[in-house]
């Protein structure tokens, strides 16, 4: 038996942390206990005309009191529904799902790179990683979660309009500050991931990226969420990997993005 469970979780609190972006704290019985950074959970809607659970990355975990923090953007009906959750209400959650970031104790300095809604999962990763860290966060304009990264590593940010930190993207921030590291952990929009992958290749360092795709089962059964693998995958026997179970974290070289 694995760690995955379906739980009815109580909402501890929820607040808006930026335009359309919500931070939701849930009390869990088992999920938080089992969770590691880079994993995700899936939230079921209470309006049953929406039948599929919504995958949301784990932003933070408090193992002592079993709470889970999720940060998400309202983009459609499901996240809109979640945004109305109030303390003491309940939500059904399945998790923890996916592989999570690897434990690599030997690293001297890691890049922890998040872009947009790829920033939240970096929080628990930054807290979990034991090595030195360059934390590089790329925002459009509005900042969120930034305070919470304080003290977790050397913090660099980029904004599209230069209103804060480096003007441009995370790669611009890395270059402007001439940052160095042995490994990259990244989550964010596809163009950012492509740039990060290219950067890692150029500098010949390991690079872990977290991918997203629409999901139905979230546990590897439906084959709805695959990405293209560079080589024939051992499990699927074709050039596909299931993001929900073999990912969402992949070594960049394993996957075609």
């Amino acid at each position: 038996m694995s760690d995955k469970v379906k739980e009815i979780c109580e909402v501890i609190n929820q607040r808006v942390i930026a335009k359309d972006i919500y931070s939701l704290q849930l009390k869990t019985d088992k999920i938080a206990k089992n969770a590691k950074s880079g994993q995700f959970v899936s939230l079921y809607c209470s309006d049953m005309s929406r039948i599929l659970p919504r995958p949301i990355s784990i932003c933070d975990v408090d193992k002592s009191d079993g709470t889970l923090r999720l940060v998400y953007r309202v983009v459609g009906e499901g996240t809109e529904e979640f945004s109305h959750l109030r303390p003491h209400q309940e939500v059904v959650v399945i998790g923890p799902l996916g592989n999570g970031y690897p434990d690599r104790d030997q690293d001297k300095r890691a890049f922890v790179v998040g872009g947009g809604l790829g920033i939240p999962p970096m929080l628990y990763l930054a807290k979990s990683l034991k090595c030195d860290k360059n934390i590089v966060l790329g925002y459009n304009r509005e900042l969120f979660l930034l305070d919470e990264f304080n003290g977790l590593g050397d913090l660099y940010i980029s904004t599209d309009d230069g209103s804060c930190g480096t003007k441009g993207n995370v790669i611009d921030a890395i270059k402007e500050n001439a940052l160095k590291g042995d490994v990259i952990y990244a989550c964010g929009p596809m163009p950012m991931l492509r740039a990060i992958k290219a950067y890692a290749l150029e500098h010949n360092i390991d690079c872990y990226i977290s991918l997203e795709e629409r999901m139905a089962c979230g546990i590897g059964a439906c084959l709805g969420c695959v990405c293209k693998s560079s080589k024939k995958d051992e499990h699927t026997n074709v050039n596909n990997k299931r993001i929900c179970t073999q990912g969402p974290v992949f070594l960049a070289e394993e996957v075609q993005i």
């Binding site: 039948i51 599929l52 139905a216 089962c217 546990i219 059964a221 439906c222 709805g224």
Partner: protein
């Protein structure tokens, strides 16, 4: 109380099965449900050689349903026999392998490989795109259905279930064709072809443009087709389409199904199959039903 069911001399401990393609090879959901409790595990579709499936996105949600265009990605019969069958053999449940192909020959090749493995039954998915006939599925033409059933039956070492597509004018005609071809059972319904459009981007939601609609949305159509098929064939029927509760499963049985498969509802709750089994037992107690077989086709 007896929930045991027989189809073509194969005994199932209860009528609840998984619907092909929604339950992986059983391993994935074994983290949630005890496979020993299921009447059978129907595996994802397997073809003679590995299939890559369709481009992404492959799924999208619709009201009380979803569209999928997985494109029958599968590791091919060889790896499947080597890895997935031994896993399932550890459980006390029946194994039904769903078979797909683009040509009659591909179906037969796949069956020949599977014949060597320890399997209880085959379910033949005839909704696959028929490349010989311009992509329309095998399952929409009664002549072809009878023929392919006969040809598979000739070489199959196991009872065969022909899985029918609902995208037809008259399901009765197709059901009869399968029976005439020698099918041991039929299962229905596969998905109903649908489409969703992203109006902001003005593009198809699925890379494949169309996909198969499944889930609670299609349940009334599935019940109707099971009822219609049951009115014309005497072989057992495995009913599926939007079954999410014991009530839904009982509707299928009352409409004429001997067994019931649970598909999309697994995504809505990984415990759906066992919840349904519990719910059926509860119903039988409340209604003093000794044998579940006495409910089959009993709608008035």
């Amino acid at each position: 109380m007896n929930t045991q069911i027989d189809i073509a001399q194969v005994t199932f401990k209860n009528p609840i099965m998984t619907a092909s393609g929604t339950f992986g090879s059983g391993e994935e959901y074994s983290e949630f449900v005890d496979l020993n409790r299921l009447g059978a595990v129907v595996t994802k579709g397997v073809s003679a050689v590995p299939w890559e499936g369709n481009a992404l996105p492959r799924i999208t949600e619709t009201k009380s349903g979803m569209l999928n265009a997985i494109g029958l990605q599968n590791p091919g019969a060889d790896l499947f026999i080597k890895r997935d069958i031994p896993f399932l053999k550890k459980y006390d449940t029946r194994i039904i392998v769903n078979v797909c192909g683009h040509t009659q020959k591909e179906y037969l090749d796949c069956i020949e490989k599977l014949n060597e493995a320890d399997i209880d039954m085959y379910e033949i998915n005839i909704s696959c795109p028929n490349v010989e006939k311009g992509g329309l599925s095998f399952g929409t033409d009664p002549v072809l259905v009878e023929q392919i059933t006969k040809n598979i039956k000739k070489i199959s070492r196991r009872p065969i279930i022909m899985k029918l597509t609902p995208n037809v004018t008259d399901i009765k005609e197709i059901a009869k064709a399968a029976e005439n071809g020698g099918a041991d059972a039929i299962s229905l319904i596969n998905t109903i072809t649908g489409m969703k459009i992203d109006v902001e981007k003005r593009c198809f939601e699925l890379a494949n443009k169309t996909g198969g609609l499944s889930g609670p949305a299609i349940h009334p159509v599935a019940v109707r087709m099971v009822y219609e098929a049951a009115s014309v064939v005497s072989i057992p029927i495995i009913g599926m389409g939007g079954v999410a509760t014991a009530k839904d499963a009982l509707e299928m049985i009352l409409a004429g199904a001997t067994c019931v498969s649970v598909g999309t509802a697994n995504f809505m709750d990984p415990y759906t199959t066992t919840n349904i089994i519990d719910g059926i037992e509860d119903y039988m107690k409340r209604h003093n039903i000794e044998d579940i077989k006495s409910l089959i086709g009993q709608v008035k």
